[in-house]
Structures are given as structure tokens and as C-alpha cells.
């Protein structure tokens, strides 16, 4: 693109880093989980393998997980740069990253079942643009695989089966239900993102966006902060454990948000993220790029 001539190559490197190396807070959370399990237990063995895989992926510069997921981009930009050009470059970067084996060809035509082969397709990558009142550019990338995506779900309260009403208790019950239903299928120990309210689409989108939050980022909403803590504590009493083998750590983190809703609707959306929570930030300032 014209404003940043090296943009496409920057994004390829951004994708590589995201695919092969975990954020520090995620890796620390895995270390803490490892410390909690009994040495030699199945849970301990799983966490050892995970830690070894993290080390090897970083060293070899190979994807942590073969499912390099949906490539979710959030771009915050000043007035000026063309979002059309930025979008085109991001798509090109995804193709290039697929060629270099940082990404798997992960776009299958849903009607013909034909894999596009180059890593891109309809809504792959998924790019969201937002203009902001600053002169730098902030791009967030999340790679979210299909195994954990399949564990995501949405409830409409009241839920008769679970006896979950339209209140904080009802929300707590359905999020725990989603975690219990996921068992080991989402490659736990996982990260839970939830959203209360919104419509069906905005609610799920907001739930997924929670995975961008750093683990030590405290929720500004006191009710949600307390709810996150309760959910974290209770989910870890379920003893599902790493990979569903049993153990002390079932979830590594819980983050929530809320949106206003229509009087008739009360959605609670839950997004499950695997232990390989691949997210990174890229910054462009004064023509220079930085990846965090």
C-alpha cells in the first residue's frame, strides 16, 4: 500500500510470530498450571508436552498448532491510510504466509468442499477496521483453530433445562455448562470469553474478542470482574483437566463483556480458546513497525 510500502511484508512477519510463538502471559499461565499438577500424572505429562512444543515451535519457527485457524484482524488506524489497500495487503500477506508454511491452507468452499489452496477465501481472513483519534496504527491478530471454535456456543435466557434466569446467576450457570460440555474437545486447558447481551451476531463476536485481553487486564465492570473470578474458580473444580485427562486446571482464564440488548433477547455467548491462544499486536509509528 502507498502509505506504508513495506506493509505486506510486515504483516507476513506478524503472522509468523503469532503462529509460532505464544504471548508471555499465556506461556506463564501454562507454567503455573504445570506447577499445580501432581508430577507424573496424565495432566502433568500433557503440560510437559505442551511446554516442549512451545519451545520447539519457537526454535524451529514452525506453527504451534497445525490448525492455524481463522485469521482475525482488528485494525485501528488514523484518518488517511486506505483501508481498501490495507485489506488487500493483509490478504496478500495471508497467501504468502500460507506459502511459507506459517499458515495452513484453511479456506474451504462450503458449497463445493474445495479447499482454495492459498489460505484465503470468503471471510478468511476476517478483517475489522476502526478509525481512531491517534496517528499510529494498531493491528491485533488472533489465530483461532476449528477444534476450539466448535466448542463455542450461545444461550438464550431464560434456559428452562438449566434453570438459568436473566440475571448474574443465570449467566454463571450457562457459562459453566458450556465449559462442562466442551470437556477436552477444545484442547484445554482453555481460555473462556463470554458476552452478555447484544444480538446473536454481535454477541458472539464480542465473546471471541475477549481472547485479545491480557490475563492480568482487570475488567472495569465490577460485576463482571467478580463473575470472571467465580467462573474461573468453579470451572477449575470440574476436574476435566488438560486435554480432558482429569486434573486441576480446566481453564487458564475467563474474560467477559456485555452489550445492551433488546427487551426480548438475552443472549449469553461463550467462546472457547485452546491453550495455544495465539494473539499478538503490531504497531506502526513514524513509518516503523513493532510487534508485541
Amino acid at each position: 500500500m502507498k502509505t506504508y510500502p513495506e506493509f505486506c511484508e510486515w504483516v507476513v512477519e506478524f503472522i509468523r510470530r503469532t503462529s509460532v510463538d505464544l504471548p508471555v502471559d499465556v506461556e506463564n499461565a501454562i507454567d503455573v498450571a504445570k506447577g499445580a499438577e501432581d508430577p507424573g500424572s496424565p495432566a502433568d505429562n500433557v503440560l510437559n508436552v505442551i511446554k516442549e512444543n512451545i519451545r520447539i515451535s519457537r526454535e524451529q519457527s514452525t506453527p504451534l498448532c497445525q490448525d492455524t485457524g481463522t485469521n482475525v484482524f482488528y485494525v485501528y488506524h488514523p484518518a488517511g491510510p486506505s483501508t481498501r489497500e490495507m485489506s488487500e495487503d493483509i490478504v496478500e500477506a495471508c497467501k504468502e504466509a500460507t506459502k511459507r508454511s506459517y499458515l495452513r491452507p484453511n479456506a474451504v468452499d462450503s458449497l463445493t468442499n474445495k479447499n482454495s489452496g492459498n489460505g484465503v477465501g470468503r471471510a478468511q481472513p476476517w478483517i475489522h477496521f476502526e478509525e481512531w483519534n491517534r496517528d499510529d496504527v494498531w493491528i491485533r491478530l488472533m489465530l483461532k483453530g476449528g477444534g476450539c471454535e466448535n466448542c463455542g456456543t450461545q444461550y438464550a435466557l431464560p434456559d428452562r433445562r438449566l434453570k438459568a434466569g436473566r440475571d448474574l446467576r443465570g449467566i454463571e450457570i450457562v457459562v459453566l455448562d458450556a465449559i462442562n460440555n466442551a470437556q477436552g474437545l477444545g484442547c484445554g486447558p482453555g481460555f473462556i470469553g463470554f458476552c452478555v447481551g447484544g444480538d446473536r451476531a454481535s454477541s458472539l463476536s464480542e465473546a471471541k474478542k475477549q481472547h485479545f485481553k491480557k490475563l492480568d487486564e482487570a475488567n472495569e465492570v465490577p460485576e463482571l470482574r467478580a463473575l470472571e473470578e467465580r467462573l474461573y474458580e468453579k470451572a477449575n473444580t470440574l476436574s476435566i483437566g488438560p486435554m480432558g485427562f482429569g486434573g486441576k486446571t480446566t481453564v487458564l482464564g475467563v474474560k467477559g463483556s456485555y452489550l445492551h440488548r433488546l427487551p426480548a433477547c438475552f443472549f449469553v455467548s461463550v467462546s472457547y480458546m485452546c491453550w495455544a491462544c495465539r494473539r499478538r499486536d503490531m504497531w506502526i509509528k513514524n513509518g516503523e513497525m513493532r510487534i508485541d
Binding site: 496424565p42 504451534l64 497445525q66 491452507p105 477436552g184 483437566g241 482429569g246 485452546c274
Partner: protein
């Protein structure tokens, strides 16, 4: 730790119990969603068409006393040779409608994947002497390093790289038996226990 060499006998498989840690070496084949649907529709619900006979024979020989790996790898092609770059397991439960028939038809001795499978597969493991082996989900770089050779690939154009049948040679591939040939499933045990805890939790939450 038990070492398994492929092909493996029914007797050897019968000795395995849930919780056993194994290292697998030999030739196996990857197969996931499109591949399972294909096996059922082309080779099980009907006889292979003449032009499919060659593929049928090749797959039969690797599947007999062999193992299926539920995996959609990242594969690099260098100088006309394929190499597995990232190759962890994919979620197995999607193959539940198909797997028991595949085990019966081809004499498969082991299914490698993640997340476990259901009662129909558990029953087939018991009846036809097979096991379900769990690899660590997401451990893709590590597991790809156990793939020492990519021998062949079938249906790559039709299914795409992640869903093709990749015939691979593995060495010391790490897995844990979570469903054995005696009707035991670690997944059922864990799910039952966690659901009891969950029911107790929601009772307490409802009471406030």
C-alpha cells in the same frame, strides 16, 4: 511405556489398557472429515469402482492392522518432496458416525486423535480389537518431528492438503490409550465425574 510397531496384531492391542502411554513406529495414514465420508460412500456402502480399485488396494494394505491418524497437517514441499511441518491431532468426535464401519471393514487396529470418541466406536474397538489413542492437541511441531517420512498422498487435489490421505512413516510417536478394546473409556469416566460436580455447582448457584 509400551512400544508399538505397525502393523500390529489384535493380541498386542488387547493387552493395552486406558491410561497406557505408548510410542508408535511404522507406517500410518492420516484421514479426517472428507476422507472418512469418502471411505464410507465409495468403499463401504458400495464396491470400489474400477478406476478406484488401485486406491482401494493401497489404502487397504496400510489400514489392515494399521492406524488412522485424525490430522490435517501443514505440509511443505521442497524439491518435489513433502515434509510435515506441523501435525497435531484434530477433534475425533466428528468421525463418530463413520469410524466403527471403517474399523470393521479395513481391520484398523488403532485410531489416533484428540478428544475421544463415542459409544459406537468404543463398541467397535471391543468387537474388532482396536484402540483409541490420544495425542496432545496443539502439539503440532513436536508431533511433526515424529514424522520421519512422507511416503505418499492420495486425493490431495480433491480434498486439499489438510484433508488428504497422507501415508507417513512415524518414529516414537507419543500417545496415550484413552479407549481400550475392553469397553473402557477415560473420556466417559471424566465426563461423568465432571457432570456430577457441575450439577452440584448449579444447585448451589441457584440457591444463591
Amino acid at each position: 511405556m509400551t512400544r508399538l510397531e505397525l502393523p500390529v496384531s489384535a493380541e498386542k492391542i488387547s493387552e493395552l489398557k486406558t491410561g497406557d502411554v505408548v510410542k508408535i513406529s511404522g507406517v500410518m495414514v492420516t484421514a479426517r472429515d472428507a476422507a472418512h465420508k469418502f471411505l464410507i460412500e465409495h468403499f463401504i456402502e458400495r464396491s470400489p469402482a474400477p478406476e478406484e480399485k488401485d486406491l482401494y488396494d493401497k489404502l487397504s494394505s496400510v489400514l489392515k492392522d494399521g492406524m488412522i491418524y485424525h490430522c490435517g497437517p501443514v505440509v511443505a514441499e521442497e524439491n518435489g518432496k513433502y515434509r510435515f511441518v506441523a501435525a497435531g491431532p484434530t477433534t475425533s468426535s466428528r468421525e463418530e458416525p463413520y469410524e466403527s464401519h471403517v474399523i470393521e471393514k479395513f481391520g484398523v487396529r488403532g485410531i489416533i486423535g484428540k478428544g475421544g470418541m463415542g459409544d459406537q466406536t468404543l463398541e467397535a474397538c471391543k468387537k474388532f480389537k482396536s484402540v483409541y489413542l490420544h495425542a496432545v492437541g496443539g502439539a503440532a511441531s513436536l508431533l511433526a518431528n515424529s514424522v520421519v517420512d512422507v511416503i505418499d498422498v492420495y486425493m490431495k487435489e480433491e480434498f486439499g492438503v489438510p484433508e488428504a490421505f497422507w501415508v507417513i512413516r512415524v518414529k516414537d510417536f507419543d500417545a496415550v490409550v484413552t479407549m481400550d478394546s475392553h469397553g473402557n473409556s477415560l473420556h466417559k469416566t471424566i465426563a461423568k465425574a465432571s457432570s456430577e460436580i457441575f450439577n452440584d455447582l448449579i444447585r448451589k448457584i441457584s440457591k444463591g
